[in-house]
Symmetry: C3
Subunit: 163 residues, 3 copies
Amino acid sequence: MNLDNRLDALEARVRLLEDQLAIYQVMAAYGPAADAGETDQAVALWTDDGVYDLHTRAMVGHAEIARELEGEWHQGLIGRGSAHIVSMPKLEIAGDSAVATCHSRLYRREGDGDYRVISCSANRWEFVRGPQGWRVTRRVSRQLDGSAESHAVLAGGAASSEP
Amino acid sequence: MNLDNRLDALEARVRLLEDQLAIYQVMAAYGPAADAGETDQAVALWTDDGVYDLHTRAMVGHAEIARELEGEWHQGLIGRGSAHIVSMPKLEIAGDSAVATCHSRLYRREGDGDYRVISCSANRWEFVRGPQGWRVTRRVSRQLDGSAESHAVLAGGAASSEP
Amino acid sequence: MNLDNRLDALEARVRLLEDQLAIYQVMAAYGPAADAGETDQAVALWTDDGVYDLHTRAMVGHAEIARELEGEWHQGLIGRGSAHIVSMPKLEIAGDSAVATCHSRLYRREGDGDYRVISCSANRWEFVRGPQGWRVTRRVSRQLDGSAESHAVLAGGAASSEP
């Protein structure tokens, strides 16, 4: 293989590594933003018409996701103390799109030295690469309650809300 | 350094980065597979004769690990809702083998908005690179209960079951 | 672009990836060392005059951090069984310095199959690259209790103890 071809191959490999770490960064940015009340930062992780399909309803686009994060429930939660944490994901990247599978947990402060896990979910995140880098086109979260749907999300299949 | 040598050096560095992320992927794949009931996916992370040394007994090979995941206890657990989650590991890679040290936790659903941490363990994962990529040759988990053995696992030493 | 320039560009990109993973490794090393009672390993993650600003007081330098880890409270904790775990961080690297934002949790064993989350915090880690690689110059942790300060740490701003 000549030098030019070796460089081509190496550039492609480095780009894939950069993609993987860039997607980690997007996923790692959600929790801190959500728990800090930095709604703009949180919402900016999605594409303009991105979907956050959370348990029982799908929020579509920045305005709907922002309304949730600015709403009474979320504001009360972060006022007590909360942590939205995702696990290290299993990632599949294919060109300019990607899918991540992971768990998420929501911790809430109950009192001094006492935090409870009030939510533990199966997650599927879908990403697309655009002019602003990798962003979320759809995040699906389902409570881990033994349901077939939560298991399907963890198994990496398409979520049930798709045709 | 001539171009050829620079390329050689760069290829070696990129390969090490790929190895690190590939091992992350293996570790991130266990929980989703185990919690979804995808026994084949979970078991395939180990080499054919790989060991899962879990607290008080060592399962050897795919069939024994699969029997545990298909057994009454694990099936009951995932039927209620569970999350097997590992922390971001400390990794040491040496050629075609690697060792990861991390924590793991097992969350179980108790009721609406109520998940409990029923296990929290010290983990040592050993990997080997083979024709199918990185796979687990041995995973050791020990409950964090103050025991010298659990501390030794976290400290990165060889597990006590080795001579 | 000629081969030389392509190699220069690639080397810079690879170095940034190496930096990101090296910082992950530093962060992933703290918990196992702290929970195993390996004080020297834990302390060595900081620079000689590094700061661990934990909730209500700042420990400065290896000796002060070591005194905390060898003290009655921490030793009692790891004797019962504990897990100090950080979430996958959001990282910003600029040359030879870096900042990570993440959550941390402290789990303590209460009894058989019963672990509690006794601390859940906002974290800011500051790093510098030196002759021994990346080390921590300052780690700030603040309980997630709804305080403006904890939210500021998660939002990535400078911690309140800075002028």
